[in-house]
Symmetry: C2
Subunit: 143 residues, 2 copies
DNA sequence: CTACATGCAAATAATTTGCATTAGC
DNA sequence: GCTAATGCAAATTATTTGCATGTAG
């Protein structure tokens, strides 16, 4: 269905569903989890499709724009993305030791944030909560 | 006092409190709010001190390392910092329209996050919560 | 004196962009 | 055919780094 959504989006903007764009789209949705543009590029090459790095970046922007993909965070290196369609909103814990990303969701947290926005007369549209620390595994490994 | 803290920190690491480092330090603490490295560099020049961009970056890393300064967020452009000493922990709302950064703090929010970490056997050390949307001012300006 | 710091300019690295070529419709 | 999209390589931009020179203790 993400295919349909993307094609609709392109149609409305007068853009064309080229094979490169479709290749990026299906690769993004071919796996779960988080990824960097370069990783995606390599997967696409590996899958037999061809799309230049430039097209990967360009298409990624389009996918973000139409809401199918979301920028998760920015690291020292660059951006990390995840596909969004079929996934409900969640936040992340990132392990400083092994880099593992744990997703979580808390209704209470969402409500509390709405309250806080209201208190500040702020119209919140999105948020990013990133908790850093050590995951269970790395926690025990530590000194 | 941040002066003392920094000097101690340098001393312990066998580093020297050069005039450039001190210039960066005092400029960082000469104003409140958030800043980019380039803005800091210009302020320092303007204040009559001289420190190259390289030294600003190098010193900023030291300040973060010793906890006097904190990286607030990463934008498309680069990093944004704020000084930390004398400021308690808080989170940010960022207006997508005018870029204003509003600070807030919620005890409930902190507690809730601790709970969530515990549920996931995660040892949280820091977190960053960034709520994006429109501030009061830009909200009314909108369609 | 002697490390460590500095400034400069060159190096990095992710991302973007200009442009000639190719391809949807 | 016309407009938009691609690939490439060059450009951008924040940040880092190598190195010869300066300086704190």
């Amino acid at each position: 269905m993400e295919n349909k959504i993307f094609r609709n989006f392109l149609g409305e903007k007068g853009l064309k569903p080229t094979k490169e764009r479709i290749a990026v789209l299906s690769e993004v949705f071919s796996f779960h989890g988080h990824f960097e543009p370069e990783y995606l590029y390599l997967r696409i090459k590996n899958a037999g499709s061809k799309a230049s790095r430039a097209s990967v970046y360009r298409t990624l922007s389009l996918l973000v724009e139409c809401g199918l993909v979301k920028k998760v965070t920015r690291t020292e290196k660059g951006n990390i993305y995840e596909h969004t369609y079929g996934h409900s909103h969640h936040d992340h814990m990132i392990c400083d030791a092994c880099g593992e990303i744990i997703e979580f969701y808390s209704e209470k947290l969402e409500n509390l944030q709405d309250e806080i926005c209201a208190e500040n007369s702020f119209a919140g549209s999105t948020h990013t909560l990133e908790i850093r620390g050590h995951c269970k595994k790395c926690r025990t490994k530590q000194s």
